[in-house]
Symmetry: C2
Subunit: 224 residues, 2 copies
DNA sequence: AACGCTTATCTTGTATACTAGTGGACAATG
DNA sequence: CATTGTCCACTAGTATACAAGATAAGCGTT
């Protein structure tokens, strides 16, 4: 497991949660692997308490499984769960896109536009990390404009299933289409074409479907 | 606060969580009231640890606010949040209803039918508690049939906002329409009419909209 | 070899002890 | 009287100690 540096005003619990999440998504903590509160606490140089609280939160998102008196383990990839997470995003963001068409003002549209331009810039320069952050920001901004910010935070906890699979698949080749999608969605919103925005959003989020069989072939032991 | 009896194989943490939830929804723990881990632990005859873990979970659902080094408080009713919770259910359950029309088999339809018949029975006999449970079961069954069970569990944590407001409003008078809604939704599903099922589900979940101004008038100190 | 018991050693669950930050009461000071 | 500073009681955050269940190895018996 990779122990990340601490952020300034971060509590021990937040730190433990952040490091665990990062390592689970990157599969540095492999699906199916056992972890113990004691061991993690030692590695992070913390006591069991904040580590335990982080594990408890992760277990609520079903990304960690706590087996009482036996140990905790990073859950195997449950493809049904991954698809549920994707489905949640598709359904919710389609509805959000519709709302955004109705409520976005000029300032908000300009901010979105700025974001997409930056995406296009980073895509040309093949800088994938800032691209992923801009992707998150774009979708988050839509929730905010629609006045559903709390929902965005709620589903973010579930999206980790999705992110883990994404990190296993060859993701980079899809970036081109994804940025183009964002541009098209923005145009539909600016044109107040709710139907088109919904259609594009659905298409966009379906791109994240990754081939289960391919991944099962490559990483058979990661699946449940 | 009302201290409920313990269930058989329930951990201390689950017990604390259950009692806290119950008291928050019933407003026995009033919106805006301060609670302390020590005080709660004493009342529940537990140590701080399981109480703290329960509060931590509730704070993630934004039904409790933890103020470091100052205390914790039951959140004031945030109407925007209540509406987000309702919106989430509406959007998600509409999509679920569509799926159920495509996938439900005869056995599942019969189980739903059984449930609705029971609802009608309890409605005639004015037994509201079993009615609420059957309501939850009905919606839960739809998620299960659609293969989105995990999503149901996820959103349940958020629905507490919704439930709290519902418990403040005069809810009983609406039961008649709600049972009729369930019957109509079931019929649409049995007829495989996805469009009608979605329309009915939307209408159904919009009934739960309660008048903010009315509640603000009755309980001004409960609102933020 | 196969079975059943004991036991050592893990684990998480829970209780308790300690740390450090917050705000209020209240006295000292202007 | 207003303001400032000091203490005190209380809070959550964290560390540690202890309890109790699960597991597997060892060992004796059959």
């Amino acid at each position: 497991m990779e122990v990340l540096p601490r952020h300034p005003r971060e509590s021990n619990r937040e730190y433990a949660l952040r490091v665990l999440k990062e390592n689970i998504v990157s599969t540095a903590l492999a699906p199916g692997s056992m972890v113990s509160e004691n061991e993690l606490a030692a590695q992070l140089a913390l006591s069991r308490t904040p580590v335990r609280e982080a594990l408890l939160e992760l277990s609520k998102a079903k990304i960690v499984e706590i087996l009482p008196q036996r140990g905790s383990r990073v859950t195997l990839i449950d493809y049904a769960l991954v698809e549920e997470a994707r489905f949640l995003r598709e359904v919710l963001e389609r509805a959000v896109a519709e709302l955004v068409c109705q409520t976005a003002d000029a300032v908000q549209l300009e901010a979105l536009s700025q974001n997409v331009r930056l995406q296009e810039y980073h895509l040309e320069n093949h800088q994938l990390d800032p691209l992923m952050k801009l992707d998150d920001d774009f979708h988050g901004a839509l929730f905010k404009i629609a006045g559903k910010w709390q929902l965005h935070e709620l589903i973010n906890g579930f999206t980790i299933h999705f992110d883990r699979v994404r990190s296993l698949s060859l993701y980079a080749v899809k970036e081109l289409k994804i940025v183009a999608d964002h541009r098209a969605i923005l145009n539909a919103i600016a044109a107040r074409d709710a139907g088109e925005a919904q259609r594009l959003m659905t298409k966009h989020l379906n791109r994240y479907r990754v081939d289960e069989q391919e991944l099962r072939g490559k990483y058979p032991r990661y699946f449940g």
